[in-house]
Amino acid sequence: MFLGAFTWTEFAQQLAAGIREGAIYAGLALAIVIIYRSTRVINFAQGEMATFTTFIAWSLMNHGLSFWTAFPIVLAIAFAGGVAIERVVIRPVENAPVLTIVIITLGLALLLNGLMSVIWGGANRQFNGPFSTRTIDVGSVPISVQDIGIVAVSVGLVVLLGLFFRFTKLGLALRAAAVNPESSRLVGIRVGWMLALGWGIAAVLGAVAGMMIAPVVFLDPNMMQTILLYAFAAAVLGGLDSPIGAVVGGILLGVTITLLGRYVGFIGSTLKLPAALLLILVLLLVRPGGLFGRVAVRRV
């Protein structure tokens, strides 16, 4: 069952890689949860939106900007794009059946994917990230600086968002609009714009995830597809309406999958995603709402 020998050094490296993977899943999963909480929609286009903004970053850097100069510009563009998409494409059908909205986000995903191929072409390209690829020794284990950087940025962003939601007036309004739109209107909150804001924030999260992972996996229009699937899995694992669940779920999933893939020969790399899904399915049988989610229990 076990592939190759076991060394603690390698285990630590796999663990680090797993945490790094998990940080990416966590960011994207958080985006999915934010949109789900506020608009009750699963945004199947989240991955393509992230890749799109990463391509924009690539173009900016190609024109001479440094990564950190392009970074805030891309975030602003992502934010605006997310708001625009919610207003133009989602708002008109907010009362439509779930299936309809699912189809729309799927259509959006296809549209963006095709658009990227048309504008930038489908070939892999190098993306020069902000972190060097050298390793430093943590204890006696060589860990990549890039991995540390990715985790730091992702975690930092999540913490910032947490503070925003918890302590600012706007963050409170966003939370209120998500849990009780009717009452929110009665205190003067413009719920429609709150929802759009949610999409904007989600788009920013996606953009960061994209720019963090692109140096590792090479940039092409299909870059985020598998990652998005893992992000869905993480969101479900943590509970679709729990932001904390998304983050915890993401990291847990990243670590579990990496370790399983490396140490359980049967799974290897082909069955990583099915294995993840199986695990989550089993978990959902025991806790239908995910780890942190709330489920209205109906016993009939």
């Binding site: 059908v93 299936l99 959006l108 095709g114 048309v118 995603l273 099915p274």
Partner: protein, 340 residues
């Protein structure tokens, strides 16, 4: 009531006549295309029972089609104990095996609601293509398995494509009648009750577990039959024959067609096929608009067109084509209805 029923029957009879006569008026290749539309129609029929009637969303039915297709492939190529089975007879077997798989999925699905279920089934759709790669000895891996070319049985003098056309639409008719019978009866009422309110349905004594699982099994059976036919028509199977996006296409066809309208489902099946294989035609139409010049062969353009069409259609017709039909013809038929 009587008038409405007669109107429905008349329309149905007309439709059957059209379908039966069509191959005489279209090219051989067209017949094959229409046959494939028929296969999608069968799959959509099953899916409409699941989503339209019991209210469960599945984004993974492509996997059940794959199960049906691979069953047919394995049985007709490797056979049972070396005894190859005639492709025709594998169809019901494929359906049953897919149906059992559906029942197996239906059981854990009971604990999942709405979008959780959609995501998990999507996960199934994504994971499935990996299985033939893993068990490549049995299932042919990435290269897949090649079947014998389909031949019309009993020495009938007709082309292969025509034969597949009649086979498909014949089966579609049978399965349609079966679905119609199911939906009119106790099962259909139970499923509709469940869709409208699970709590109310359960309180009325309807066993949620039994009917919801049954819906999964039935819809999987239909998908399996469709997949089996597809394998026969294609004469080979490999992971690319039943790709991930197939599950998406099915749901798209269902949503665009409208969940429980017969005409809508045929339209949905047609749309899936059209957008998949004829995006160059759409591109050419669009090029008539000023300022647009799309090269349909450029990679990415088909996806863009498909995506844009989906968005526009769903924005304009949130309840699908079936909903539109009902809205247009509804007032007409309901007046007949209340008059009596």
């Amino acid at each position: 009531m009587r008038a409405r029923l007669l109107l429905e029957l008349a329309g149905f009879a007309l439709l059957t006549l059209v379908v039966a006569a069509l191959p005489r008026f279209v090219s051989d290749f067209r017949a094959r295309e229409l046959a494939i539309v028929g296969m999608y129609f069968i799959a959509l029929l099953g899916l409409s029972i699941l989503t339209g009637y019991s209210g469960q969303i599945s984004l993974g039915h492509g996997a059940f089609m794959a199960i049906g297709g691979y069953t047919t492939a394995v049985l007709s190529v490797d056979g049972v104990y070396g005894h190859q089975i005639r492709d025709l007879w594998t169809i019901p077997i494929a359906g049953v095996i897919a149906g059992i798989a559906g029942l197996l999925v239906g059981v854990p699905a009971l604990r999942l609601s709405g979008l959780y279920l959609a995501l998990i089934t999507f996960g199934i759709a994504v994971s499935f293509p990996q299985l033939p790669k893993k068990f490549d000895h049995f299932l042919g891996g990435t290269t897949g398995k090649i079947l014998n070319l389909a031949k019309p049985p009993f020495g009938l003098h007709t082309t292969t494509n025509n034969w597949i056309y009649y086979l498909t639409w014949g089966i579609a008719l049978v399965l349609l009648l079966a679905a119609w019978w199911l939906v009119r009866g106790k099962t259909g009422r139970a499923l509709k009750a469940i869709r409208d309110s699970e709590v109310a349905a359960a309180s009325s004594g309807i066993s949620l577990a039994r009917y919801k699982t049954l819906a999964f099994g039935i819809s999987a059976f239909y998908a399996g039959v469709a997949g089996s036919l597809y394998a026969i028509a294609n004469a080979y199977v490999n992971p690319d024959v039943f790709p991930i996006i197939l599950s998406v296409y099915l749901v798209v066809g269902l949503a665009v067609g409208g969940l429980d309208s017969l005409v809508g489902l045929i339209a949905g099946a047609g749309l899936i096929y059209f957008l998949q294989n004829h995006s160059d035609t759409v591109a050419r139409w669009l090029n008539h608009l000023p300022a647009l010049s799309l090269d349909p062969k450029q990679p990415g353009i088909p996806s863009m067109i498909f995506g844009a069409v989906l968005i526009v259609v769903m924005l304009l017709l949130p309840t699908g084509a079936g909903g539109l039909v009902r809205r247009v013809f509804g007032p007409l038929t309901s007046r007949l209805y209340t008059r009596s």
